[in-house]
């Protein structure tokens, strides 16, 4: 392999991008746009969920310094960013509002709420638990779990407040949840989880698309024939272009990372260079795949048809938006064949867990093999003469 010839291809491809402003903009702005859109739309938790609150609690007066209306305290403690609360006097009416689809949930406190709660505090044995009814429209699981989470958080907070007020050191709750975080410390934002995926996905998408089209054009315009009848070897052609994409991939990753850090303050615990290296391996692999696929397309229109074929399985099966564990178990093995999966996995481990090569080497090895196979396949494809 001759370095000068190899770099001649790299140079040519990069210069082409420099002249073609629109494509350059696509290459750089598309990942930026993705991180912005996803960051702002997916970025926060669920908010402004309409709920009806029907408070029937009569409270408890005797034997205590002041009247107790525990349900009021719980309601005060509900996160008002997550829930948009409308008070309702009648539980039945509140349920009907949910039935009609005008609210996601009705939160109903029974008349004996405070009484039962205090009773539980006084006796060591739990006889009857205070019950909060959440009448829920479960058609959207994300919203449903957000409502439940908000209510249980409010209850916990309230119980803690009582404990302080009554000077009781510990209160035994009917159910105690003890959350310990191995990673992320519980303040991991969705965007933290999402950014490594967006970087990987954006680079995969751009690399695949541009490579397919670049090579379809090489074939259509006859320039490939000219290269193959030149002293340049097939390996030099493939590696030369791969290096051009490496440069583009690095720039893309930096754009996305900087945007994610500045705008969303994402967490990067691990080594940024390692994160870049991993994403480049994915770019090399998908470039090889793009060259191979370009052989199956006669023109740009046919080339574009390959793109959803690669994108959709990658979006759905690689754990980009939701964990692989949430895919039906019989489909989960398919994700092993999606290279993006390993890249996202490795990027998340680097950025969120602070892992190094020692822990992510399996992902890296698979990406290396993928890149070698597709690039070697591309060389063989170009060498084909019949």
């Amino acid at each position: 392999m001759n370095l000068r010839r190899t770099l001649a291809f790299t140079r040519r491809a990069l210069l082409q991008f420099r002249h073609d402003r629109r494509t350059l903009a696509f290459v750089l702005l598309m990942p930026l746009l993705m991180i912005l859109i996803f960051g702002y739309t997916f970025g926060g938790d669920v908010g402004n969920v309409k709920v009806e609150v029907a408070n029937q609690d009569v409270g408890l007066a005797p034997a205590l310094p002041q009247d107790l209306h525990m349900a009021d305290n719980v309601i005060d403690n509900l996160n008002k960013n997550t829930l948009s609360i409308h008070n309702s006097s009648d539980p039945q009416e509140a349920r009907q509002t949910v039935d009609k689809g005008n609210a996601w949930a009705a939160i109903i406190f029974p008349a004996n709420f405070t009484a039962t709660l205090i009773q539980n505090l006084n006796t060591s044995q739990v006889s009857a638990r205070p019950v909060v009814e959440i009448y829920l429209d479960g058609s959207n699981p994300t919203i449903a779990s957000a409502v439940i989470k908000t209510v249980s958080q409010a209850i916990q907070t309230t119980v803690g407040e009582i404990a302080a007020k009554l000077n009781v050191k510990s209160i035994e709750m009917p159910i105690a949840i003890n959350q310990v975080y191995a990673y992320g410390g519980g303040d991991t934002k969705f965007i933290d989880y999402f950014a490594p995926g967006v970087i990987s996905f954006a680079i995969m998408m751009v690399t695949t698309m541009i490579t397919i089209i670049l090579f379809v054009n090489e074939r259509r315009d006859g320039t490939l024939q000219r290269l193959l009848a030149s002293p340049a070897s097939e390996t030099e052609i493939v590696i030369g272009y791969a290096l051009a994409f490496a440069v583009i991939g690095i720039i893309q990753s930096i754009v996305v990372l900087v945007a994610a850090i500045l705008l969303f303050n994402i967490t990067i615990l691990g080594n940024v260079l390692l994160a870049l290296l991993v994403v480049l391996l994915l770019a090399f692999g998908h470039q090889g795949l793009g060259i191979l696929l370009s052989a199956g397309a006669k023109n740009e229109l046919q080339a574009i048809q390959f793109i959803p074929l690669i994108l959709f399985p990658s979006i759905l099966l690689a754990g980009l938006f939701w964990p692989i564990e949430s895919i039906p178990s019989y489909l989960q093995p398919l994700s092993f064949f999606i290279p993006l999966r390993y890249c996202i996995d490795a990027e998340r481990s680097i950025m969120l867990r602070g892992w190094g090569l020692g822990e992510i080497w399996v992902d890296v090895a698979i990406l290396v093999i993928f890149a070698i196979l597709t690039l070697a396949g591309s060389v063989l494809l170009l060498k084909k003469r019949d």
């Binding site: 001649a8 040519r12 082409q16 009848a229 340049a232």
Partner: protein, 239 residues
Amino acid sequence: MLVIETEKLTKKFGNFTAVDSVDLKVDKGEIYGLLGPNGSGKTTIIKMLCGLLRPTSGNIKLGQTVPSKAVMRKIGYMPQDTAVYLDNTVHENLFLFGEIGGLPKERLKEREQEMLEFVDLTDRRDAIVSTLSGGMRHRLSLACALIHEPSLLFLDEPTVGVDPELRATFWKYFEAMVKKEITVIITTHYMDEASHCSRVGLLRQGKIIAEGEPNDLKKRTGAESLEDAFLVLARRNKP
């Protein structure tokens, strides 16, 4: 000195025989014209000579060896399509083919200047190719085939879709090259062009049905033009 020698060169695509036992001998400094209608096997022969297609049977010798990447250093190839990078500038195209052709840096600079003057694109050096006219792109394509100073040049239908004025210019270029002892193999289906060649081979259905100097072919058939000569010969060689 023989530059090209083929022996029973044959190419089959499935059951179809595109090139059928062609024996070709081309001397240094010749302009050899492969003449024939569309589908007669001209392009297939050129592609085999450039190493783009593998012959089904038969041998090719370029100089002393078979076609290989090493020999390509001495070969220039202008494909049928314009085959230049439309999204790059004239300079970038020339530079790429000069670099992969292995010209030393300094020589490449001189050579680029020479080529720009040769095909009259000096003032378009920094223009993006897609903004150039078809004729200019064709001229650039020729310059790309020549920049690395090949001694053997394959031109596949270089004058198809080219206006008469440019065609005349192209032939002026080709004749100028031969003066520099470059051997040129050219395919065309314009019979009138063939009179510029030092020798022509008439191809029909993958076979060379006649070969010789243009005037000689006319004399042999008693025809007024090469076109008539071709028709006479084609009739004689009906399968």
